[in-house]
Point group: C2
Chain length 225, copies 2
DNA sequence: CGAGAAGTTGAAGCGTGTCAAATGCAGTGG
DNA sequence: CCACTGCATTTGACACGCTTCAACTTCTCG
């Protein structure tokens, strides 16, 4: 069902371009088929904050068309291909396919949990904890999507991206990464991230994966007929 | 319908107590009938972050029972009374009352938008911008709930609460509030907040209410039969 | 091979945190 | 009604994490 819908309307975007802009009227829901994207917000004076990352398989803002206008923008990091899912499609789903509807709720709730964890991250963690935490999160999510190796993954974010996501300056991101490298917690070079000791990185970032609710996702869905 | 459900199981809590704790299995959804509460997360070393506030009329985590365990805690600020809404109630709603179901989605989406704005707040705004922004948000939300005067509202948060919500130290919260007072942006005394010039406070906090999606809430609901 | 983007380095400044003590305030019991 | 108590707020001095600015180096890719 999802594959059928996804194949309907597919669009591709170059890296560093906008898929949707703040102020626009949201029409469709976007399913990321390929590539990395992000949600970001911007102040009048130019300060930018990346508020979340989208990885392949992620869905942007389910049911967003209930709201009148976008309060944020969505932009690509790498080349990205997305499927546009229409409102009608969702109405059809929610009545006819309860298991998929439950999966959508799961997605919505986990996204909310991630956003809360980011609030925690920015509010309480130091620069290096924050960076370690973000790297752990991305690795776990990529692994869930089947896009990671055992101890690493491809990693297209620049230090400027990391700065906008962590609320740090570019320069300090650079120094923070050096610190993590010096402690043998990461190897980050040429768009590849290797995590030689995930356990230690997790504790360096005070990372607890509970908020990702990875446990028994499949069983959960099966349990709801 | 909602009133009927809300009257079913009502519980009251003293100030500064937990309604639910991280790690527990979520059973019901809570509707705040009275008082202020908050969602918070805590690190092992004690650092605490308030990730959102609940005001009367707010609903905590719709459909949360899809997840296996709470990734955060919910605690009261003031005395609070809540109604526990069961899973069955929601299944009934979502099939039988599409307008209420849409209203629930609206609530869910706006909460997500608020969480994103908090991410922006912590990541990009300075201490005084951050504080001004938070005060604006709470005032707008209280006004929407019919709980604010024209230029002020009752305000039960302590400076320690504000510190945990803004990611600042208590001492710096104190100084930041003094700065806002000195600029005649707020009068905060004895659990009452007065905003002599909302426009100026909004611009001091770079506050744009678009993320609250206050526009035509009623019409929106009516439009969805 | 050249040019622009990404990453790195050093020095200096500032915003916010920390520590510690004083003051103000509200509720309680005698 | 006042003294007592504990919590909330305020103040000052100092320390430090992070930012800023500016220049330099290294990568990437056409």
């Amino acid at each position: 069902m999802l594959n059928r819908a996804a194949a309907q309307r597919v669009r591709t975007f170059a890296p560093r371009t906008d898929i949707a802009r703040e102020g626009e009227k949201p029409k469709d829901v976007h399913l990321i088929l390929n590539g990395w994207a992000c949600r970001y917000k911007q102040l009048e004076d130019g300060r930018r904050q990346i508020v979340s990352f989208f990885l392949p398989g992620d869905i942007c803002d389910l049911n967003i068309f209930i709201l009148r206008e976008m309060d944020h923008s969505i932009g690509t990091i790498t080349p990205v291909s997305i499927a546009d899912l229409s409102r009608e499609f969702f109405d059809e789903i929610s009545t006819g396919y309860p298991r998929i509807a439950t999966a959508f709720w799961w997605e919505t709730l986990v996204n909310a949990a991630i956003q809360r964890e980011w609030t925690m991250n920015l509010g309480q963690r130091t620069a290096s904890e924050r960076m370690a935490h973000l790297l752990c999160e991305l690795f776990f999510r990529l692994r869930l999507a089947g896009l990671a190796e055992d101890n690493g993954c491809s990693f297209p974010l620049t230090q400027a991206d990391l700065a906008e996501a962590t609320g740090l300056s570019k320069v300090h991101v650079n120094r923070t990464l050096q610190e993590l490298r010096a402690n043998n917690l990461i190897v980050l070079k040429g768009k590849m991230l290797v995590l030689p000791d995930l356990e230690r990185l997790m504790s360096a970032g005070l990372f607890n994966a509970n908020y990702l609710h990875l446990d028994r996702e499949g069983r959960q869905l099966d349990a709801n007929e």
